[in-house]
């Protein structure tokens, strides 16, 4: 599967000389385009719609709690919250459809991309990376210098967890939106199942995918703290990229495709505006993360003391 990656790792190819030469060759285009505009917009809309879905959905899950009743009153009652929730759900479903279309295009255009180098599918190397990290976590080995391809193991894990989650939430959400229609084809117990899964899936999506996984790895990791700029700026300096994803870089150089993914950095004036936007979004995200974190700890605590 990922034989090329393994070769690079095993031979320990030096990464130093390449960047400067590449710079000289491409002139002003000194940044690596990590995400296309399409990907960044999809991410933006998923971020917004996910937050709205959580804020309008969670009070219903915890309807017996005083904070839920206060918050529900603040956002205008169940009827209003339901409308906002469904509107946000439509945004997210649109994003999901766009992404499926994108995957299909990639699959058709570059056959083998899904399974070859830079794949999103977990490989043996991901398992080795995870073991090396765990060794560092428990203090047995020094911090490994992961030789990452396009996606790290924690990004792959999050992608598949989120994919599974969004599928369940879409299906169960549709059943709960139109229970009468669902009952034309399915037995009534399916509505019970949908309730349990929508409610449990919501907590999993919020607690595991967002609080523990995404927020930490995209914001609070020492390498990215306080935020990975690639998702809003699109590109990041080539020097940084070489260190973060050496295997993908090597592969692109070898295949002569580096030129295709180099972009010029945005102008200083645009960077200033982008930085303001960046700090606003990061501030809001970190605030929301703190709220979610407290919430998840509270839920876990209540769950533990219920025994």
């Amino acid at each position: 599967m990922a034989s090329i990656d393994t070769d690079v790792r095993d031979e320990g190819i030096a990464l130093e000389p390449a960047p400067r030469a590449a710079h000289a060759a491409v002139g002003a285009r000194t940044h690596f385009r990590r995400f296309t505009a399409f990907q960044r917009w999809v991410h933006f809309f998923i971020m917004i719609s996910f937050s709205i879905l959580v804020l309008t959905g969670m009070p219903l899950k915890y309807s017996d709690k005083a904070w839920a009743q206060t918050w529900m009153g603040f956002i205008g009652g169940v009827e209003n919250a339901g409308m906002i929730h469904r509107f946000a759900a439509m945004i997210m479903v649109t994003c999901v459809i766009c992404m499926l279309g994108f995957f299909l295009t990639v699959l058709i255009r570059t056959r083998g991309h899904f399974w070859g180098p830079g794949t999103m599918v977990p490989t043996r190397q991901d398992y080795r990376d995870l073991r090396a990290m765990v060794g560092w976590f428990i203090g047995r080995t020094p911090k490994p210098n992961l030789q990452l391809d396009r996606y790290a193991y924690y990004e792959k894990g999050e992608f598949w967890a989120a994919s599974a989650g969004v599928s369940i939430m879409c299906i169960t959400g549709a059943i709960l939106w139109y229970p009468e229609v669902a009952a034309q084809y399915l037995p009534g117990i399916v509505i019970n199942f949908a309730l349990v899964n929508h409610s449990g899936g919501a907590l999993l999506a919020m607690g595991f995918v967002v609080v523990f996984w995404h927020f930490f790895h995209a914001h609070l990791r020492p390498e990215t703290f306080p935020m990975d700029k690639a998702m809003y700026a699109g590109g990041l300096p080539l020097e940084e990229y070489v260190h973060e994803r050496p295997v993908e870089y090597e592969r692109l150089v070898r295949e002569g495709k580096l030129d295709d993914v180099l972009v010029a950095p945005v102008s200083d004036r645009r960077m200033k505006i982008q930085n303001i936007v960046w700090w606003v979004i990061t501030g809001a995200a970190l605030f929301l993360w703190a709220v979610f974190c407290i919430f998840v700890i509270w839920v876990t605590y209540n769950w533990l003391i219920s025994f």
Binding site: L60, S63, M72, V196, F212, F216, V296
Partner: protein, 287 residues
């Protein structure tokens, strides 16, 4: 006849009708009013009490605010407490009244409601089987502080009122979208009585019950257009915490509990240790 004359004639006829209807209404409306102050002279004292035949202490205090805010505050006390005199009441008076009051005090005015109640499961227990636990009128509606049963305030109390006896039913109801919405203040969603009825509540096994298999589709159909048998087989009163209620629902709930426990622990550890090591090795310090 000119139009103006016609209007005058009609107006005149209307006045005559009003004049005749006024006294007629006064004659039929004979419930005495305004005398409750005499009773409250004693019964508003905060420490008024007695020991009943079973040896249980019982307060006889009626809060004036509660009474004046009740729907019946224009009635005289004796409209319900029939036969009581404005003096210290004798034991025969009180005991004789109490035995009958539960059954008949309300039926004088609310006969049609009482007839429905009489045919209900609750009514049968109280009237025919002498049950002291099954609810009579006052157990759901209250007594001195009675409020309009069509009001939103009364509607909001229904899950609690039914829950006093049917605790686990109201708990499972509060776990559904109906119950959650009501708990969050949206009174337009179904409460107990919307499905089970109120005065004439019958057990599910009774073919005339609104939740009997014969009628349940129509009951759901009151709100849900296109409700069918599948839709009505949705389990409202399912307790997610036990396999005895619905095995499949419980298994799904357990599946989530395990997933949440395992993934939160592993994810939390991965983040925490990453953070801790990073902090310890000074990786967050940047030049």
């Amino acid at each position: 006849m000119r139009p103006r004359t016609a209007v005058l004639v009609l107006l005149g006829a209307f006045c005559v009708l009003l004049a005749a209807a006024g006294p007629a209404a006064a004659i039929t409306f004979t419930i005495p009013t305004g005398k409750s102050d005499r009773c409250l002279a004693c019964h508003s004292k905060p420490d008024l009490g007695t020991v009943n035949v079973n040896g249980v202490e019982k307060s006889l205090t009626i809060s004036e605010d509660t009474w004046h805010s009740s729907m019946h505050s224009r009635l005289d006390c004796t409209a319900c407490h029939a036969g009581f005199e404005a003096r210290e009441h004798t034991a025969t008076e009180t005991q004789g009244w109490y035995r009958q009051a539960k059954l008949t005090a309300c039926s004088d005015c609310h006969s049609s409601e009482f007839k429905m109640y009489d045919q209900s499961f609750h009514g049968n227990l109280v009237m025919n089987e002498g049950s002291t636990k099954a609810p009579a009128c006052g157990d759901c509606h209250g007594s001195h502080g009675i409020i309009d049963p069509a009001s939103q305030e009364f509607r909001a109390t229904i899950p609690d009122v039914c829950g006093r006896c049917h605790g686990e039913k109201s708990a499972t109801y509060l776990d559904t979208y109906h119950g959650k919405s009501v708990a969050l203040g949206d009174m337009s969603r179904a409460v107990c009585t919307d499905c089970h009825g109120y005065h004439k509540i019958l057990p599910k096994s009774d073919p005339n019950s609104s939740v009997n298999a014969r009628n349940i589709v129509a009951t759901c159909g009151k709100c849900h257009d296109n409700a069918n048998t599948n839709f009505s087989s949705f389990m409202v009163h399912v307790d997610r915490s036990t396999p005895h209620s619905s095995l499949w629902v419980w298994l799904m709930e357990m599946n989530h509990a395990i997933l949440i426990a395992v993934l939160f622990t592993l994810g939390g550890l991965h983040c925490f240790l990453y953070f801790y090591r990073g902090l310890k090795e000074g990786l967050y310090r940047r030049g």
